[in-house]
Symmetry: C2
Subunit: 322 residues, 2 copies
């Protein structure tokens, strides 16, 4: 199982490489929710999302011989960019398997970091199998997006920094797809503050992790149709699940329209840009505010990689969200 | 003339009250411009702009007897909110004189801070005279938006922090309207690094400060028609001018369309929201990049108070910018 020492080691690797992103506060939000909220602005992280932490930590942890054969990753977007950028920084080759409907901005950014992109059909093909085949054929190391200890450890450094900067918190809400971010932050947070309650935030229509926690086993669902493109995972990873099953207080499901509201609030009041999945934890806090009244709550703003056109479509209602 | 000790005193007053805003960097921007750029994100400041610094410092510097009679301010927006919020934090009454065409978001925010708002016609009435009349009638202290040492000192703390966090810089570009921000930052910066070159950034159609520097006297212009609503001043203030005339290396004029480009870049690549005037210094660096090649350059991102509708209109071209 992931240990706190893994997160500490990742923090040492990332020092001076990842941005130490600011913790934002908003008195307007605090008044609105009746809580004291500390938001870790990972949208201001390198390549626009927390995923840089896990990607860099994973590539950095490889041996020189391993890196010489390159790395391969599959991802709906931010992990792809993270591994591509991490590979570039280490001077090694990256092959990235991305879905045909990944946001254009993410595709372009991944290629911009010098990675080779292989496209697959999200609804028909198995990215896992494609990634493994490339790894087998080339000898490259496969770096999975969440079910991998070095990725989980890297993501956990964001939770570590949040607690270092905000001080003790009653609860922390972390956006959850495959569970890498949530499990990493949970291990970091509960080591520092054993009484902290950790929550995952999931889109309502992709609530596999909520179902898994309820049933006490990993539940797998169809690819969820949600605007939260970073959270279209079908099931939680096995390694994250080991942490989540026993140490997470609950999963907060969020309707997509509330995610749009949170994106708008972040824009208008906090002056930051969030992609849908990046706003999911804030939306969860807004939607479930009664549970957190009077508390000191940490929230991850996990990414800001959204194109202007998509953002405007969501804000104007040109893209219908239900 | 404004002294470094005034800025230091303001920094002490603002400690724990103003946000210590982050200094953002973007390797994409650095590669694009061939310079190393350090951006002071004052759009993430309380009430969304650096103006909070000057407003709070001014109200805090008053005696209890003075504050008991209230404060009055005139402003196109951000200074209004700053004084309104500062007054609220000190438990004193604020009356704010605002133009009829001030952005709705700024009007609403000012009233939201509990201030009384008095509307005037920007193109017909003299806000200075209106402010003075209210001060005379009520005994309230008038807090001008820039031509006032405590405001200049407060704004200068942003430049101080930028240098503390980024280290020595070759140049710093500060957006300039009445010159409060530019003069405050100049006094702070040149005390710490006497060789630093300080630049103001002005919209091309409102380049009164550029004209003033060229002619060696304060030049006054008609109210400029520019999208940069925070910089529609007609002339530099007398107190800022004392600093600017002798210590500023130059004024960089920026066409409005480049300001829109800078806003788009900030959104897409840096994940932050800037209002037009808030993007003016970044736009100036983009437009005059040859002058700064190979240098370490500080830039103020001075504010993010723009409504969603206006932002979308500017980004889609629904509001024509020329």
């Amino acid at each position: 199982m992931l240990q706190f020492t893994d997160v500490e080691a990742a923090a040492a690797r990332l020092k001076g490489v990842a941005h130490r992103t600011p913790v934002l506060t908003s008195r307007t939000l605090d008044a609105m929710l009746g809580a004291q909220v500390f938001m870790k602005a990972e949208n201001l992280q390198r390549m626009g999302a927390f995923k840089f932490r896990g990607g860099y930590n994973s590539v950095n942890a490889l041996s020189d011989d391993q890196r010489a054969k390159g790395v391969v990753a599959f991802s709906s977007g931010n992990h792809a960019q993270a591994v591509a950028l991490a590979a570039k920084l280490h001077g090694c080759k990256a092959t990235i398997v991305m879905p045909h409907d990944a946001p254009a901005l993410k595709l372009a950014a991944t290629r911009g970091y010098g990675a080779e992109v292989v496209i697959y059909d999200r609804y028909k093909e198995d990215r896992n199998a494609i990634g493994k085949r490339i790894a087998d054929e080339t000898g490259a190391v496969l770096i999975p997006p969440y079910d991998y200890l070095p990725v989980m450890a890297g993501q956990g450094t964001a939770g570590l920094e949040l607690l270092q900067d905000a001080g003790a918190l009653d609860a922390m809400i972390v956006c959850a797809g495959g569970g890498g971010f949530l499990s990493g932050c949970t291990v970091a947070a509960r080591h520092l503050h054993p009484a902290i309650r950790m929550y995952g935030a999931e889109p309502e229509r992709g609530n596999d992790m909520q179902q898994s926690l309820r049933e006490g086993r990993i539940v797998s669902i169809d690819v969820p149709r949600t605007i939260c493109d970073g959270q279209q995972t079908q099931s939680v990873g096995k390694h994250p699940w080991e942490v989540i099953r026993s140490q997470v207080a609950g999963i907060l499901a969020v309707p997509d329209p509330v995610v749009v509201e949170a994106m708008r609030f972040a824009f208008e009041r906090m002056k930051v840009v969030l992609e849908p999945s990046g706003a999911c934890a804030l939306a969860a806090l807004m939607h479930h505010r009664e549970q957190f009244r009077g508390q000191r709550v940490g929230v991850t703003l996990s990414g800001g990689n959204i194109g202007m056109d998509r953002f405007i479509a969501l804000m104007t209602g040109a893209e219908v969200v239900d």
